[in-house]
């Protein structure tokens, strides 16, 4: 990033999390140490880990966060809804709630992931279109002539709301923003990617302010089952602390849903409207290496080094999933990138409290770390017996970093899919 480009600051944080909705409730939830992981019921209990963290907002309260006449619930997936709830709290927090005006120079980027909603309906549609021939134990036949019958279980909104750009389209309409809009997809790092792309958009003059972050709901049967087979979920979901980042005997993570968004602004724009500046975005980096390649650690370390540049991080907010292999790769990357500086930084890891929310997890961790670094929240240390292979990050979990103005946060999303992103912030007074 060249020095002549505008500086980009954060002027608002919006959160829809299992620990609470809104910046203050989220901070209080973090500080309380409350664990939002609960047993799942219904059809979600039949697949995957059987436990996870849900956002507790009743349908009738949605109107507290967005205009349900403008944004009809029938056009929304759960992740779009979570994004809109987070956006409602964001715009309030940033002091610019929707007012019916449109803003041509503001935009919205969101990291999300394609998980078609309402699998039960999709499966029913597919089942109505298919049959297994008599005397055949395996396989199926699709019968196109049954389409009319199958379509009786579907509506146009089923297709509209599943379009992958819908989350960011909703945010733009909600906020009245007419600048760039896009949903970034493809990996669990796309939430932090959207933050980086939004910084780029502001720095290159495409917008003066951008909503950016992630929103995701993993609670769909096929998605849970698929991640189970990939080995992402913890094997002992019934235990009181099943997610054990960097600990011996860790077996994986648990799903959580949520949305975490930031209002990024050109510094001069923020100052001119009298906004409170929470932090400045000082670095962003993104790297890819195919899973299983030789340079998996090096690529992760590069992402961290490029984002943090010459700064010394006070708080680290890594993925911290509690996954046997990913935690080790992560710890080695942090050691390679930060060396001795790792020994003075504190760790923020909210994943044991609120689960892993895929592309929203990076922004959620970044939000948690920002609040901790600002002194608005505290976070409990890791309750694990450290794995010697992850000792550096485990040790950071028992330490407080510097807080207040000038403290530096380094957050990262390292995905199983090989796409890695990191963001660095410097806290303002």
């Amino acid at each position: 990033m060249s020095d002549s480009s505008p500086r980009v600051v954060i002027t608002g944080v919006g959160v829809a999390s299992p620990l609470g909705v809104g910046r203050q409730a989220f901070a209080e939830g973090l500080t309380s140490g409350r664990n939002a992981i609960q047993d799942l019921d219904g059809r979600l209990s039949l697949v995957g880990p059987g436990a996870g963290a849900l956002v507790d907002v009743s349908r009738r309260d949605y109107r507290n966060y967005f205009d349900t006449r403008l944004l009809r619930l029938s056009t929304m997936t759960r992740q779009t809804t979570l994004g809109c709830i987070a956006c409602g709290t964001l715009l309030e927090d940033a002091g610019c709630p929707p007012n019916g005006e449109v803003y041509p120079d503001r935009g919205a980027y969101l990291g999300s992931f394609i998980v078609p909603p309402d699998f039960a309906k999709q499966a029913r549609f597919a089942a109505l279109m298919s049959h297994r021939p008599e005397n055949q134990e395996r396989g199926y036949v699709i019968d196109d002539s049954r389409l009319e019958e199958a379509l009786k279980v579907a509506s146009a909104f089923d297709f509209l709301r599943a379009l992958p750009n819908m989350p960011s389209a909703h945010l733009s309409i909600q906020a009245g923003y007419q600048g760039p809009a896009c949903t970034y997809l493809g990996s669990d790092s796309s939430g932090l990617q959207s933050v980086g792309m939004a910084v780029g958009a502001i720095r290159s003059g495409l917008a003066v302010a951008m909503i950016a972050g992630g929103a995701f709901c993993p609670f769909q049967e096929v998605h849970l089952a698929w991640q189970q087979v990939r080995g992402l979920w913890a094997q002992r979901a019934a235990e009181s602390s099943p997610i054990r980042p960097y600990g011996l005997g860790r077996s994986g993570t648990l799903p959580g849903e949520g949305g975490a968004l930031f209002l990024l602004e050109e510094r001069e724009h923020a100052l001119s409207r009298g906004a409170t500046i929470l932090a400045e975005v000082t670095g962003f980096s993104q790297r890819f290496a195919a899973p299983g390649s030789d340079d998996e650690v090096a690529v992760r370390a590069d992402a961290l080094s490029m984002a943090i540049d010459q700064e010394r991080p006070d708080w680290l907010a890594p993925s911290g999933l509690g996954h046997p292999d990913l935690d080790e790769l992560e710890a080695r990357a942090y050691e390679d990138a930060l060396g001795s500086e790792l020994s003075s930084a504190g760790l923020v890891n909210a994943v044991p409290q609120l689960g892993f929310s895929g592309p929203a997890a990076g922004p959620m961790q970044l939000a948690a770390a920002l609040l901790v670094a600002r002194g608005e929240a505290r976070i409990a240390g890791l309750d694990v017996e450290a794995d010697p292979d992850c000792a550096s990050l485990a040790a950071a979990g028992g330490r407080d970093g510097r807080t207040g103005a000038g403290s530096v946060v380094l957050a990262s999303s390292f995905s199983m899919d090989g796409v890695h992103a990191a963001v660095a912030l410097r806290v303002e007074a």
Binding site: A126, F159, N165, Q286, S293
Partner: protein, 430 residues
Amino acid sequence: MTGSKVVITGMGVVVPHGDDIEQVYQRIIRGENECRRITRFDASTYPCQIGSEVRYEVEAPDKIGPYTIHNEALKYVAGATDRAIKAAAIGPAEGAAQDRRAIVLSTGVGPANIDFLGPIALRVHGSDEDPYKANLEDFYGAAPAEPEAQGLDEFHLDTAAPACAIQFGAAHVYNTASACASGSHAIADAAAMIHRGEADAVLAGGVCTPVTRVLVPGFSMLQALSTRNDDPEHASRPFDKDRDGFVMGEGAAVMVLESEEHARARGATILAELAGWGYSCDSYRLTDPHPEGIGMALCMTRALESAGMAPEEIDHVNAHGTSTAYNDAAETLAIKKALGEHAYQVPVSSNKSMFGHLIHAAGALEGCLSVMTILQGVVPPTINYQTPDPSCDLDYVPNVAREMPVNAVLKNSFGFGGMNVSVVYRRYEA
């Protein structure tokens, strides 16, 4: 703009008209149509029975790194990438050089295919009495034995962009989703990265395989598709008074973008300049464009401003031109707002009249054709233009291509959700 000039040095396509961009362009300027009755499945009972399909064998690698190229979308985009890299004569970067390369791809719609939902559904619906009798984990354990289920990872994971990153030797991977604007969005994002100095070379574009049992009826329910089933070759008729919706098309298109310095330093042949780009969102409704074309006009104006060009310098508008009633009227209005009086002088044509709407790949393919238009000096026609519509009163290059010097093309792409991107392609001058 003050950063590096962004140039195009290679293009690759796998689309209904063929897998060689020069030949595709020649067919396009002859007005040849690839919209026909769907052959992928028996669509005879479907509300829309028309599609623009890739009806030839596509040459593509079977495996790229850890990624198996097991479905049509991956095959198309891997094939297009291979062709673009060869055309640009730019081998895959290695080591630290990968850090200066990126992939920006639009891939969003391909996975929604009932063909691999079927096996899951049969297991989930073990019986009417107990629809969740079957265990999905068991299914996943058995999935490799189900040839129809090979696309299951694609249901969750987008491996197209990572696979292309290996082909190109790129250390950065982004996936854009702005609906039908996504292909142009990927190209604009790529240009912006180069312009900001974040990359020297970016492979950008899109892939889409929407001619499926789920998406064809789905878009029909949104009343977006033509139902002119008894006359498929005349179904896609942008700007014509009797238009009744678009035709789904499939394929992939990508281009290699580089900073001018990088391209010249390696002695690359520069095809054209990507001179400017603009984004906007209508912030109006999810399915309808703003009736006054406000968002569309805004992004065209922004693209012109970023290129530092006046409306009069645009020689041709490659329209989004979907053939839906709302889009074509709103786009016409928006072109008039953005270009003023020049809107009545400039030829506007819609390539979709010949291959339908490639959704996430549309902007990328039409961008490649815009570059070809600059190179060859022949503006493609809008075919099936028979009856003028009073709400569409520009020069749509009806039915016959037009030879003329073309220095700059304004390419429009607009998507559901009101997401808009415009890109200016310009003749390259050193």
